[in-house]
Symmetry: D2
């Protein structure tokens, strides 16, 4: 399936780790739709993952960047424009990590150095990316910036731990920076709030499989996959959504507006 929706557009895609990543699928789909882009990830993630395969497949270069370091982001944004031959049309931020989760700390027993570190990686990095793009005037008019988020930013999912608060911060950054990016450069900024997705990151969350099943049973169209999320992201990068900004867009088979489904009631009666 290809519509040339991104023909001639240039992008930066953060966070493609392996074939399960939403960012990976988005890169594949953006390539099919005619975009050129650079891929980026933190040096440690580059070592763990298989991004070179994706780079080859999509004819794109990989630029290492720790998204918490402004100087890395400056280098990335400069190099990306050189490589792609012009300003940037779209950016995908798909970065998240909680040290507290990784180290098994309960939400009521946080190590606050780790809380700060997780926030820096998962949420403040989004501000840093935009601040660098904004200062360097690196975005084309009517460009589109998207970050991936999760509904734990609005409602309680107990195992999501401090990532819930990080995502709330991230979504607020999208609105706050989106205002200035819109007024100053006509660039739109949105977040996509995706179904629980069995990426390498998602699977790290405790009780993930049980929760996946619950979400699937609750959603009238079932959970959205990584590939479906990539498709949706493409529409937000295209010229067909120019006036959508400051939004948090649920891509979740309807989960977000469900109170309860017949299947969940029945599962609980068993």
């Amino acid at each position: 399936m290809s519509y040339n929706l991104l023909k001639g557009k240039r992008g930066i895609i953060f966070g493609a780790l392996d074939e399960n990543s939403i960012a990976w699928k988005t890169a594949e789909r953006a390539h099919e739709e005619g975009a050129s882009f650079v891929l980026t990830n933190a040096p440690v993630a580059l070592r763990m993952g298989t991004i070179n395969k994706l780079a080859e497949q999509t004819n794109s270069e990989v630029i290492p960047a720790d998204a918490t370091k402004v100087e890395d982001l400056e280098n990335l944004v400069e190099k990306a424009q050189e490589i792609l031959g012009g300003k940037i049309d779209f950016v995908l931020h798909s970065i998240g990590m909680s040290v507290n989760v990784r180290k098994g700390k309960h939400y009521t027993d946080q190590n606050y150095d780790w809380t700060h570190k997780g926030l820096d990686i998962s949420a403040m990095s989004f501000h840093k990316v935009m601040q660098v793009l904004h200062k360097k005037e690196a975005m084309n008019e009517w460009g589109s910036i998207v970050a991936l988020t999760y509904m734990a930013a609005q409602r309680v999912f107990p195992d999501y731990n401090d990532m819930a608060d990080n995502k709330a911060y991230l979504e607020s950054v999208a609105r706050s920076f989106g205002y200035f990016f819109g007024k100053d450069k006509k660039v739109r900024v949105n977040t996509i709030s995706q179904s629980p997705t069995p990426t390498s990151a998602g699977q790290g969350v405790k009780g993930f499989t049980g929760f996946m099943n619950y979400a699937d049973k609750m959603s009238p169209l079932g959970n959205a996959t990584a590939l479906e999320c990539a498709d949706y992201t493409i529409t937000l990068f295209s010229d067909l959504t120019k006036k959508v900004t400051l939004q948090n867009l649920f891509h979740d088979g309807g989960f977000s507006n469900m109170g309860v489904s017949q299947e969940v009631i029945e599962a609980m009666e068993d």
Copy 2:
């Protein structure tokens, strides 16, 4: 601009009155994107408007239907399938009228017969359309149904009168019916909450021009036009948004998530 996003898809478009209508623009864009469809409107609207011009231009037929009458809708859905040669992939509901507004009744001095009538036309008609489509099993799997709405459903816009309550009802119907349509037929149902738009209908609202200016000054990307709304609607009819359902999607240049803009503060200081 054409991407063949709707190639081979069949649709029903309600509410194209004249060239200012969002439904009119959507029909034009759907045609460009490769869809075939029937146009429909109430007999009285057909007489007032210029829909035949649109029908000719998009190579489509016009089927009169009063959307408050179930038998008219049954006839429409049957004829549409005959004409288009198969089940329906997309439906646009763009219908709204308040008798109280038209007759100059203030919100605190309603004529309740008119309130019921306005609700019937503006909101219950959406239920009726879906009930007929559902009973007749007229939608293809992964089809998409969209209704146009306005943010007065969530927040107060004093001149919007009882249309605010009608739109709240409409958005609820989208969720309520969307659940069953999703579970039973994998059909998605969403509403688009559009900027104030100078359609023939919109212009009937008191103080509309002043309000348009306010909304434009408040929105970081400015008000969205009817054509931009048509573009956005196309993405929701396409196969790229299959897991988006039960949502109310703001297409408004960012207005919905603004508290205040610099320009509004300045305008008020003058």
Copy 3:
């Protein structure tokens, strides 16, 4: 427990059917807090229920009124002021009935005459009550009007049927009329979105018990009872909440902001 929170205040309480009613508990609590009020209900409800017992107990009069009939409401508002000796300080609207639910019609197979009738009783009646109070200038400044609602207005609860749409309309009326009542008379208007409550009305909803259990397991503080709702309503009638208006206030043990609870995940794993 009594704090004299409503000392000297005069009210109208709609919808006390029997001892399970939230309106009944609210009347008892308002009496304890020093208010005087009239009770009202539709003639048919008066026959079915035991309201005279409540009237005796709270030293109040019962005025029959069909809340869909403007002339009944006009009579009620006039009589209430005569009996109570002055303008009204608080009003509770606790009225709801779906004919489609009662007659066993599925949401996708509505009888639209019944849909209109249910809307008239459950939601438009709230507009009628306020329109009569507003026209007759029957409310004191800083008075408080509350209607009971349910979260099905925002999210899908499949068995709630067309009451979901009715409640969405009701909540919109609270905002729309609340604006004018606030500007014109400094009266506040809010809705309380209560946990599923085993009232005589609530119990009529299909699968109610299973749903009660689900909601209780989902809510960190458990479901809120009718008496607790009465307590909360008292705070909204008191002088301590003068600037709270146009709000839909969840009184639900936290349900509304839960994505999933540990207990629900566990119940589904069994």
Copy 4:
């Protein structure tokens, strides 16, 4: 005005700087309603403000604590229980400060060390307070914890700078921790989203007066004052709101649900 709503209850009140503070007014009202409490603030705020006057007036002790330091909070919670003679029933968190705002950095030109510091003071401190209370089992069952917030957490107010993101984080912490505090100890946690208020902190925000006027013109009941906020907070500390939790409660004269008011349209037409 006093109702004995907090008779016998013990509390901790953070953030009373001077007579303009909402925390100051809340302390006065809590005292009138029969509560005993300790006051606390950071050592630097204690030097700047006039808290000793409040302590004298309300017969309460002041315990210095930097709310970003866990050991200070541990000391505070221990001392408070000793002084008050038992576990805690209510807590008010009214703390916020953005270094970026104070130093005049624009939102698109943040110093990220300052961003972290502002977040630590304004939002993570709320987590720290609750984590200490939770670990020490210092709260009574059915206790109530409230933090003050602002609507910039949901919508864009350009001059609010990174405090918007801090408040979004704070509100998320209220939900996330509120779940565990509810399940484990039956303690409720809510935030109050207050009108712009001319406190010493509020007045530091650029363009504050112009914005106050705008908010007042937009709100059907006008802006809520600090004293009115204190009254509302008292209801949330009382036994009448036991099942309200995880909520963000707007106390703003209706601002939050306004799209536009007649007065704003008129002001913009001038």
